[in-house]
């Protein structure tokens, strides 16, 4: 058992709670930086993919995990970030400006969209954002002069300060670029949650009425949260576009939106870790399934069997299991295990029990 004594109010908002924690995160950082020398190009690409998903997951986590607003339409903002980044690049804007600008554009559009939409609550908000996601596909097709319509766009070559970065030519540089963005977003996110604004987000999630009573401007704060969320997701979208090389309206379809949402649910809503756990699962699931399938068909000598759509099927079954048995996600399970050992032998079964409540309709006020 470890006791952390708090001696000042600052101890509550320190980045690391105690030294061992700092040590482990630094070790993780070293490992992540060393990855290009440890993995071959294929798995490095997969790692890059996971990091991109993690950025997108962090973006949605700000909104859903910490502000409590469900969005099923964030692929639309990924698309916006991706297209604006590539269009800026094509017009000769250097990457170092185009990339943040794409995030900014997405964030501003996010705020504009949020103002009318965020008047809705819960399920209605989910449905409205779902509609935005569906609409975005058609809008991309209509805006063909800019977006290339159905045939899509392909990401141009780009460089940072003269160093050309290419997903296939220099996968390690692309990995470092993604890692850099991830770390910047992570740092910003972590600090946001220590700042008054981030606390206001959490207050809104836990109870809008009490947040209002504490002087939080609900509409404004929700809109800012939506904007930040969209900006981060937009950057993830830009990276995804550059990573994929070519994309069209179907790349950022509604399934991607839903997958993004489901990803952070599996990872664990309300924690930054959740975004990364979710990204790991979604990134490596296809590989794991493929390996399992090959292994099974080798054992039973079935030859190569392919079942279309098995990824989403397995993913959905995992999700159902999580919703039923571990609503707090992978991170929640990890916290429980850690608590078990930290408190050994005093862990009680009901420690993480969630309050159940009888439902009342929202239609009667």
């Amino acid at each position: 058992m470890r006791f952390v004594f708090k001696r000042s109010y600052d101890d509550d908002i320190r980045l690391f709670k105690h030294r061992p924690q700092m040590f482990w995160y630094l070790a993780l950082l070293v490992l992540v930086v060393a990855l290009p020398w440890l993995l071959d190009d294929f798995f490095l690409g997969e790692a890059t993919n996971v990091l991109i998903w993690a950025i997108a997951g962090m973006g949605l986590m700000v909104l859903t995990g910490h502000t409590g607003q469900v969005s099923l339409g964030h692929a639309a903002f990924m698309a916006l970030g991706c297209y604006s980044n590539v269009i800026l690049l094509q017009n000769g804007v250097p990457f170092i400006i185009a990339f943040p600008l794409a995030g900014l554009i997405t964030g501003v559009v996010g705020v504009i969209v949020a103002l009318p939409v965020l008047r809705l609550h819960g399920i209605y908000l989910a449905i409205a954002t779902l509609a935005i996601s569906v609409l975005s596909e058609d809008i991309i097709v209509i805006a063909a002069p800019w977006t290339g319509g159905v045939s899509g766009l392909s990401a141009p070559a780009f460089d940072i300060f003269g160093v050309s970065i290419n997903r296939y030519g220099t996968p390690d540089l692309f990995y470092f670029l993604t890692l850099g963005v991830t770390l910047v977003v992570l740092g910003a996110y972590r600090n946001l949650m220590r700042a008054p604004l981030g606390r206001a987000f959490v207050a809104i999630r836990d109870s809008e009425i009490s947040a209002q009573a504490m002087g939080v401007n609900i509409t404004k704060t929700k809109a800012i949260s939506f904007g930040i969320s969209c900006a981060i997701v937009g950057m993830a979208g830009s990276l995804l576009g550059l990573f994929a090389g070519a994309f069209n309206h179907e790349t950022f379809n509604i399934v991607l939106s839903i997958q993004l949402f489901l990803m952070i649910v599996i990872g664990g809503l309300g924690s930054i870790h959740g975004a990364f756990f979710g990204a790991l699962i979604i990134g490596f699931l296809p590989q794991v399934i493929a390996m399992t399938r090959d292994g099974l068909s080798n054992i039973f000598s079935l030859g190569s069997v392919t079942i279309p759509g098995i990824e989403s099927g397995v993913f959905a079954v995992i999700l159902i299991c999580f919703v039923l048995f571990e609503p707090l996600g992978v991170y929640g399970r990890w916290v429980k295990i850690r608590t078990y050992f930290e408190l050994f032998p005093f862990y009680r079964k009901g420690m993480f029990k969630r309050q159940k409540s009888f439902l009342k309709t929202e239609r009667m006020k």
């Binding site: 939409v117 399920i123 509609a131 959905a316 079954v317 039923l324 009888f358 009667m364």
Partner: protein
């Protein structure tokens, strides 16, 4: 006459949307949960019927197969609630949303694995029949769709208004605790609603598959039916039907009047407008409590 033809085809499509929306509303009205898998329920119902009826599978008589399929979907809905959804009783609504989205994925995958991803058409006895009513050409399927939808909506509307069970369902949704106090077995009622939702989805699926080919991804049509339910006001049965009809009518006219590409947007744009300006829908269920 062109316009009338558009109206009729819009009506038939709208009825199918309305039927799926009816399923949403049923479950929402009685359990406060939104079943995002309703479109996939419809797709499953259609495929079960195809499996029973079509010559290359079981080859049963159509009129024997339809009740079987409806009952099967009813049992499916009931079991789904008892085994899976009920475990989330007392947890936030959004948990059920996530669960039903996942169930939708699983259904789409399972149906695709069993009956392949090829589009298939239901073989109905009235296929290809055409009635000419005052110069408007109507397929028998379209007439069947319209009649069945009207009957079903009317039946369900009266069921919720008059029948004891229907009232119990509404009570269970409005306030679970109070419903328990007056002796309503809330959990069993909810399972029955899921069964009803499954049965309605089966009817919608049968009608859809008799009108045109269906494949597993058709379940995503549920999103359009969502638009219908939202326009009508989530929680109102006639509202769902009218919302479906509005969507169904808008589509062909938008395709007729607007340049290509814009017409798909119309239903969702209408839905967004309704959500923003009249979040309770056209047939608002919101009401203040009478003291």
């Amino acid at each position: 006459m062109d316009i009338m033809q558009l109206v009729v085809s819009g009506l038939a499509n709208g009825c199918v949307y309305g039927l799926i929306a009816l399923g949403f509303v049923l479950i929402y009205k009685a359990t406060e949960a939104v079943n995002f898998a309703q479109g996939d329920f419809m797709m499953l119902g259609a495929f079960i019927t195809i499996w029973l009826v079509n010559a290359e599978y079981m080859g049963l008589n159509f009129w024997v197969a339809v009740p079987i399929a409806i009952v099967m979907m009813g049992i499916f809905g009931y079991l789904l609630d008892v085994l899976v959804v009920r475990r989330l009783f007392g947890q936030p609504q959004i948990a059920v949303v996530i669960l039903t989205i996942a169930i939708g994925f699983v259904l789409r995958f399972a149906v695709g694995a069993i009956w392949t991803h090829e589009p298939q058409l239901l073989e109905t006895p009235f296929a290809g029949g055409i009635a000419n009513v005052g110069g408007i050409v109507l397929g028998y399927e379209e007439i069947a769709v319209i009649i069945v939808t009207l009957l079903l909506t009317g039946f369900l509307f009266l069921f919720f208004r008059r029948a004891k069970l229907g009232k119990a369902m509404q009570a269970a949704s409005q306030n679970q605790l109070a419903a328990y106090y007056v002796g309503i077995p809330v959990k069993r009622i909810q399972s029955l609603v899921w069964a009803l939702g499954g049965a309605v989805a089966a009817v919608a699926g049968i009608l859809f598959a008799s009108k045109g080919a269906i494949d597993p991804s058709t379940g995503l049509l549920g999103i359009k039916a969502f638009a219908a339910a939202v326009i009508g006001g989530f929680g109102s049965l006639p509202g769902a039907l009218i919302g479906g009809l509005i969507i169904g009518m808008v589509e062909p006219f938008a395709a007729y009047a607007l340049p290509a590409g814009y017409s798909q947007i119309a239903p969702y744009a209408i839905m967004l407008l309704v959500l923003i300006f009249r979040p309770a829908g056209l047939f608002a269920q919101m009401q203040n409590k009478k003291v």
